[in-house]
Each structure stands twice: as C-alpha cells, then as structure tokens.
Amino acid sequence: MAGPRQLKKDSKSESKTTTASSITKDFAEAFNLSIDSYFKQVNSNNKLKLIDIFAFFLVLIALIQFVFVCLIRDNFPFNAFLAGFIICVGQFILLMCLRMQLLSPFEGISTNRAFGEFVLASLLLHFICLHFIN
C-alpha cells in the first residue's frame, strides 16, 4: 500500500507542467505501477497465476491464427478460422470474468459457484465453436 501514497506526492509536484513529455512520463509511470501491483497480485495467489498463464496462452494462439490467416492471404474456411479465433477470445474473456469474481466475489455468488458457472459457460462456448467448425 505504499505505492499510491508515493504517487500522490509525485503528482502534486508535477501537476503544474502538463506537457507532452509529462504525459508520456505519466504513462510510463502508471504502466510501471500497474505492472508492479499486477505482479504482486499474481504472485500472492496461485489461482490467478494459473488463470493468467492460460489467458496469455490463449492470446498467443489467437495471434498465431490471425498471423497465419494474414500470411496465407486467404480465409477460405472462414467459419473455421472464426471459430478458432473466437474460442480464444471467448475463453480469454470468460477467464477474465472468473478472475474478477475470484478477486472480489459479487454478493450472492460465492467463488465456488462462480467457478461452476465458468465451467458451464466454457463448455457451452466449446460446444458452439465445435459446431461452428463443422
């Protein structure tokens, strides 16, 4: 919790000069801060780590598919590509949803229930995508 306090001081001293350079500086600082707190968050919770690795992996697959389609310059079984791509995006999104619920459970929905719902939704997504691939 030391981060934000430090930040406040910094922002006060620099608030007068809001030029282009300071904006990039702000960006960099905010970026660093977020990265730091993110790693802190992840390292403290193994579940989150797992989720994020999975998510990263999904992004990677999606990128590979996209690049592949760009390279061969043909998207002939367009539905197959779309299914492959969307399943990555969809699974990523569902992971993010689960992650949010794990971090701060919503009232009325316990983390276990959230996980159950996540599994259900993933199954549904996979079923539809499989159907879409043909």
């Binding site: 316990s110 276990n112 229930r113 996980f115 159950g116």
Partner: protein
Amino acid sequence: MFVSRIWWISTIFMFCLNRIVTANQFIPPENWRNIRYFREIDVSNPFTGESYDLTIENISDEPQNQYYIALSEDVALSTSMITAAIKGTEKFLACQTVATFTQLKDGTVIKYALLAFPTPIQPHSQVSIMAKFYHTLAPTPYPEHISIDDIQHLSIKENRYPLSPYDTDIFSLRITGSDDFYELNPPKDKSAQGVLTLEGFKFGPHHDVESFTINEATIVYGSDAPVNKITHLNRDVWISHWANTVQYQEYYEIKNVGAKLKDGFSRLDFIRHQQKSPSGHYSTIFNIALPENSTDHFVTDKIGLVSTHEVRGDTLTLKPRFPIFGGWGYNFTIGWTNPLSQVLRKDPTDDDTYILCITSLNGPSSATYDFAHVTIYLPEGVEYVDVGTALPFDEATVEPEYSFFDLQDGHQKITFNFKNLFDELGKGEVLIKYKYPKTAMYKKPLSIACYWFIGLLSFFVLKNVNIGIY
C-alpha cells in the same frame, strides 16, 4: 360365316401358340349353347346395371356346372357385383370374376365371370337363369367439351352381338335410362343398327351368332347430370366405450368425369344458367344420408372448414367450395358422431364380447367409388375375434394405431379395402366381433393417471433438488 370360321380356327391356333408363351391364355370349354340371350343395360345411374335373361343348354356329354359370361376387359376391371339365380326359383348361383382371360386375334382381351350352379346341369337339358351385373366403368362424354348451356351427352361402347364364348341362337340387347339415344358412326347394314323405341334403344334380335363375334357400337345418350366418381374414400370409424360414441370421419376424393367446359369457366354464364335452371351437368351440392340421431357434424377440406353445409334431419347437404364441372375434382372430409348403442350389441353368451355392425358407406347419392377403405378403430386393449362383410372385400388388415393417450399397444385398427362400389351397395354391413374385458377398459384411465402422477412427482422432486453451488 365362313370368314368367321377361319377366324375362329386361327384364334384357336393362336391360342395354342400363346399357350406356349403365356400360360394363362384360356378359352372356356364349349360345353354350352345359348338358346336365348337377352341383355338389358340401364344407364340412368352413374353406375351401369346390366341384366341377363339367359336360356342355356348343356351340349356336352357330361353334367356341367360352370357357365362363363364374357366381359370386355375394362368392364371386368370395374366389376362391382354380379348375382345370378335360376329363373323362377330361389336357387342362387355362386358368381365371381376370374383372373383368366382370352386374347383375341385383334388384341382384344376378354375376361369372364364364372357362374357355378348349385347342382350340375345334365347333358342336353336346358336351364334359364337371370343374372344381374353391375359395374362402375364411367361413360365417356361425347362431345368432350361443351358449353354450360348445352345438354351433356355420354357414350358407351357395347358389342352389338352377344359377347359370349358360346354360340347363340337368339340375341337381343336393349339400353334404357335415357330418352335420347343414337349410335355414333352406324354401320351400313340396317339390321345391325340400333333402333330407338319407346322401351329404349334396341339391337337385334339377331339369330345364330357365333361365339366371340365382336362388332362394337358406340351409343350416345343424353344425360344432363354430373357423372360423379369417388376415386378414393377413407372411412374411419372410431369406437369409444368410455364416451359411449361411435365417431365417423370420411375423406372423399370426388371427380366429375362428365363433359368439360369449352371455353373455361365464366362466372357470369354460370350465374345466368343458375337463374334459368338450378341443375346441369355439374354438381353444386352433395346430399349425404347419415345414420339416425347423428350429432357433431363437421365438413372440412385441406385448407379448413367448409362453412356451406347444412344438416337437416338425417341428411347432410354439402355445397362444395366451387361447382364441380366435368374434369374438375374436389376433396373433403366429413364427420359426425352417433351413440354407440346404435351399432353395438353385447354377445349374450359372453359378457366381455361385443358385436359391432357398421354400414359400409354413407356417401353422396348417385356416385360410384373406385376405392373405398373402411377402417374401424377399436379401443385400446381390445382383442378382435372375427369379422364378416356383406360385400366382398379385396383385402383386410389388422394393425395397431397410436392415437390420443395410447401409451401401450394402441387402438386395434381393422381396414377393409373395397373396390368398385356404388351408393346403393353401401347398405351392406360390416360385422366385427371383439372382446373387451373390463380390466382393459379400466387399465387406460389408470395408466394415464399413473403417468400424471409420475410426472408431477418427478417435477416435485426435481424442484427440491438443490443444484446451486454456494
């Protein structure tokens, strides 16, 4: 005569040849001689009724009991009924059409009806028989296209000589049923021509005619009534012991095979014609005689209710959606309900056995039927014992049919297929004997109740199962 002899010999020769090729070429043995062969045809109905007044002699040396009446092929195919009795007695002959046929040299196919005497006729003795023969072969309109104001003329083709596998001494043919007859393309020979008399259109008398003498005449007669042919009838009869009703549902496919309209249908001409005379060579209404005390009538066709029907007493008057001119067709479904007690009797010997008695037809008057399928649906759990019909049927089948709330074996469905019927034959009844034990009767509501109970119970159980994850 000589020529016909040669022809006859050649026929036999051909017959011999054919016998090798087709095994069913058949010529009735020449055991008989027609002493007197009077034939009368009545064309006043859509079906054709023929009566034969025959005196025949057994010319063979053995007692004979089989006599063949020859029929032209298309007539034989549309035979509906044939009865015969020895004149002046109550002795009936067993009559049936047979599958065997004779093909003459010119390609004409002759088929036969076989009359079997109850006792064989001794050699060289004579016997007189009266035969009634009905067929549903529709006459062809002549000319084929007429205008709405014209009188319709129909034509039939008949042999002006006796069509018989036996030689005939004296023959005459009379056609009745109209007052306007003439022959199309009459032969030059005056004696062969038909003559219009007060008693109808007469051919003959001709003397000493060889067997298989064929000389076809086309007879045209005026008949300004529609020629209604029911090409298909599905008559479903549902028996319900619980509701104590018998429900009829009949599907008709009807066609007017009379003369067609010359220049299409003009509504204006039709209105004018209707103002002049309400009837013509088209049908605007059908009258259907229903059993007594029928209720819940309905008339539909494939696109919904036909609101133009009326029930007066025991007659259902149906006005089809459009007038049915020659060449036009229509189909409709009618239905009604009667109390079960009208058609069902309990077997006095067995408490669980019932005898059902249904009339074969209830259709519109003056119409012929090509195919009629009469189906009786017995309740679920019935065991059928026996059937009997007044009319000969082609085929009868027993199958299960799953209807409303039939969750076990379904209704017992008994179908009779009839061919070539006409309205007057419809009074002939269909009898069915079946067993319906009390246990089977109560089994059905109990099983339905069980299913309900199981359904509700499972709903209740499922509702109480907690699938939430907390």
